[in-house]
Amino acid sequence: MRRYDILDTPPDGAYDRVAALAARLFEVPVATVTIVDEDRIWFKATHGLEGVTEIGRDPGLCASAVLTDDTTVIPDTLLDPVACSNPLVAGPMGVRFYAAAPIITADGYRLGTVNILDTRPREINEADSATLADLAAVVRDQLELRLSALHVVRAEQEKRQAEEEARQRAERDKAAIAAFASTLQRTLVPPVLPAVPGLELACHYKTASPQEVGGDFYDVFPVGAGRWAFFLGDVCGKGAEAASVTSLTRYTLRAAALVDAEPTAALKALNAALLLDAAVGTRFCTAIFGLLDPVRDGGFTVTLATGGHPPAYHLSPTDDGGMRVEAVRAKGGMLVGAFAEAAFASRTLHLAPGQGLLLYTDGLTEARTAEGDMLADTGLTDFLAQRQVPVRAGCLIDDTVALLDTLPDTERDDVALLALSVPTPDAAPAGITTTAHSAAAPTAGASVGQENRRP
């Protein structure tokens, strides 16, 4: 009976109608539908009996009726040895006739009874007994229907709950993976750019997916005697494998630069380190390595060596207010870590006040425009030629990120950008501005510390 969850439920039209129908069919003043609990008889529906919700089981008419499979009929209660002492019979109601059909479930449990009561004795025939049994069966069917509906609702609720829990678990897993990737990423690129006297630096970093560690990398660090080194590159591949190469690359270049800051020497050391590695053959990268040597009258002498990487762009304002954009290419300069015989060459340029240098990975030049063409070197050159003068690293990165945001398909690849500019004497009197942009998601202008924010 418990599984039907019927006890103490509010009145329900279906059962009330059964009671009313029984009263009308048998022309009796009182008809009830009762459910027999362990210690009480609960009235699910009553007709002609006001204000009664439950009575005790013992001694009870229903209590005995529920114990038999057949319809119980007591034509005259005063002649029945058990019924005669029942309060309904002996009390003010003075019940003289009682008939009850048990409500029997499909699996044989007797839940309660459908009862008819009268204040005068009477007989009912076999057909009437069968009718009463049918009414009990109607109640049974109603209960079964209600039960199966309850099952469906509960199953639905449980399913929804399980789905919600699975969804929450997936969200947590996803967040944990993204957090892991972003933590790992911080070991591969510097969390903040250093403050380099006389130089403005800015960067942008976006991985194709927040769940994956990118293969792009950059770094800026001091190498002593007032000189600074920087590098930017792209490891072939993605994910954990690429991350291990990136890590090896970053620390090898840093260590090599402390021994010999000459850019081609650093790339040679990296080439040798990658070729010595156990997983040789699958681990290589492209990189640009630069050395900054401050010049007494302002600006820096920049020595740039390229290892199979797209050229950096040197931006210098012209006398007529325009912008000269020069691709800095060194003759030679192969993929790093692929060939034992790889040769690297360097070029030197003077980065004067008002000028800038942009380093980028191919996620920028291979980004597609709305027309489906790649931005390519020509598109980038045209874009850079329109930048404002004097060049400011922060603006250059902001503008380039804004450009990327206008392109439809930039989630295909990682993008790393590093810009250097030398402030003009009139600008930035405080000297150093360090603008770092770090975003693991395609979010323009996200500042350091904001991670994995996706639109």
Binding site: C236, K238, G281, T282, G308, G332, G333, M334, L335, A343
Partner: protein
């Protein structure tokens, strides 16, 4: 916009085989190219000519696959020759310096004809 890569082997002859690629040679398709090429090498064709005429896009993963194939071919005493390189891929090979290591020919036929002479570079 994406253009799935097709890999064909239109020609095998003794130790030689031509592997022709068309479509986008990128992180999605590079492993298949590598696997197919290594299969050819393992099956007695270590002298590979990669016909790249149909390559519409190649990224660092594509280059990585070429380096990997070159390495395996070399280990099998073979060679990797590039043929019919589209302009943009040509610039990429030049930027990465790979064209100084891998012989380049205008067509697969020219590569097959010149193969013996080029083997000194592998």
């Amino acid at each position: 916009m994406t253009d799935a890569l097709h890999i064909d082997v239109p020609h095998t002859d003794g130790t030689r085989a031509v592997i022709a690629l068309s479509g986008e040679f990128d992180i999605a398709s590079a492993p298949a190219v590598r696997a197919r090429a290594l299969d050819l090498i393992a099956n007695g064709h270590p002298d590979l000519v990669a016909d790249l005429a149909g390559v519409t896009f190649c990224d660092s993963s594509g280059l990585g696959a070429l380096v990997g194939i070159w390495r395996c071919a070399k280990d099998a005493d073979g060679s990797l020759t590039l043929a019919a390189i589209p302009d943009r891929l040509g610039r990429l090979l030049s930027v990465t310096g790979m064209d100084t290591f891998l012989p380049v020919h205008p067509s697969a036929d020219a590569a097959l004809a010149a193969r013996r002479d080029d083997r000194t570079t592998t």
